[in-house]
């Protein structure tokens, strides 16, 4: 049986596995009603526990809470729009050496989220300010996908309140792919 070709890119990525994905961050804003209102409008979510304080007080939540699926939103950094195309669409300028930047530099500039596992330890309330930290869990071998050649990258983000209480976690998997290696027959199947 032929020896599989050594994947130098994957070898260079190994140093990131099990390591923090950049420095921990503090959410730009505390959990707040204006951002909840914006989200609720975009999602047309009529659950009264997010914006109707009187109705929320009558439920077992006891008052307003944030939509649980907003967990990831609170940690999203403020974007740097200038130069976004040159960074392959990355909305942030990260000085940190991390696996996503490394894959961008190797030509795997495309990004597609493939899996998300959100865990809510407790619902958040206006005023909660979150600390966010992520650790790289795994990197796959090189895969051939409908979008081109790429790697599946999985990390776990932990969300903590200011006193250190873990309030939620997310395991997230993305495909970092090279749009230049797309197989036309597979592209047709995917569109």
């Amino acid at each position: 049986m032929a020896e599989p070709a050594r994947d130098e890119v994957r070898t260079r990525l190994e140093k990131y596995v099990g390591k923090p994905m950049g420095a921990p961050s503090l959410a730009p804003d505390p959990v707040n009603v204006p951002m909840i209102r914006h989200w609720v409008a975009a999602l047309d979510d009529r659950n009264p526990i997010y914006l109707d304080a009187a109705a929320a007080a009558k439920t077992r939540h006891g008052g307003l809470v944030a939509p649980p699926a907003m967990l990831q939103v609170w940690g999203m950094p403020s974007p740097k729009l200038e130069g976004i195309a040159e960074r392959g669409g990355s909305p942030v300028e990260s000085a940190a050496d991390n696996v996503v930047r490394a894959l961008d530099a190797e030509g795997f500039t495309g990004t597609l989220a493939t899996n998300s596992e959100l865990e809510f330890v407790r619902y958040l309330r206006p005023g909660d300010r979150l600390h966010v930290s992520s650790e790289l869990e795994s990197i796959s071998s090189r895969k051939s996908t409908a979008l081109g050649q790429g790697y599946f990258v999985t990390w776990v983000t932990t969300y903590q309140a200011e006193d250190g209480e873990v309030v939620g976690r997310q395991r997230f998997r993305i495909l970092k792919f090279d749009p230049g290696t797309i197989d036309p027959s597979r592209r047709k199947a995917a569109s």
Binding site: W39, A42, D44, D45, N47, G89, P91
Partner: protein, 143 residues
């Protein structure tokens, strides 16, 4: 939509189907979700950028997908529901002009203290295939 009252947990049985929901997808909705979730990746608002990446058009970001999965389940489970987990796998892109059909089924029910824990199998599909499939775990009070 039943967002004003939660079902009684004793009335919910494994195999129950959630009321189906069809989301008419527009570029506006996709962009609104991306910006409400502070996701400025160009593939979620710039069609030319999305096409250069091999996607047919702008596509919904995963934060918005999670939001709609949560909303679909809580439209049924009501204001007393507490979501514990949302686990989804993403497939076909959710893109403008292709309605997304949500369906769900109660897959498991167990008692835990003064709550009932439910697992709901969820699927959001368009005519390209499954956009998101997965499981939402939630609790309702026990009567």
């Amino acid at each position: 939509m039943s967002t004003t009252a939660s079902p009684q947990s004793r009335d919910v049985r494994v195999g129950d189907e959630l009321p189906p929901f069809e989301l008419k997808l527009t570029s506006t909705l996709i962009v609104a979700g991306a910006i409400a979730s502070r996701d400025f990746m160009p593939a979620h608002h710039d069609p030319a950028f999305a096409k250069a990446q091999g996607a047919p058009d702008v596509f919904m970001n995963i934060l918005t997908t999670n939001g709609y999965v949560a909303r679909f389940v809580t439209d049924w489970a009501g204001p007393e529901a507490i979501l514990q987990r949302i686990e989804i796998r993403l497939g076909a892109p959710a893109i403008p002009g292709r309605p997304l059909r949500f369906s769900g089924r109660v897959a498991d029910k167990r008692e835990a203290g003064d709550e009932c824990v439910f697992e709901v199998a969820v699927r959001a599909a368009n005519d390209l295939g499954d956009h998101a499939t997965g499981t939402v775990t939630l609790t309702l009070p026990r009567e």
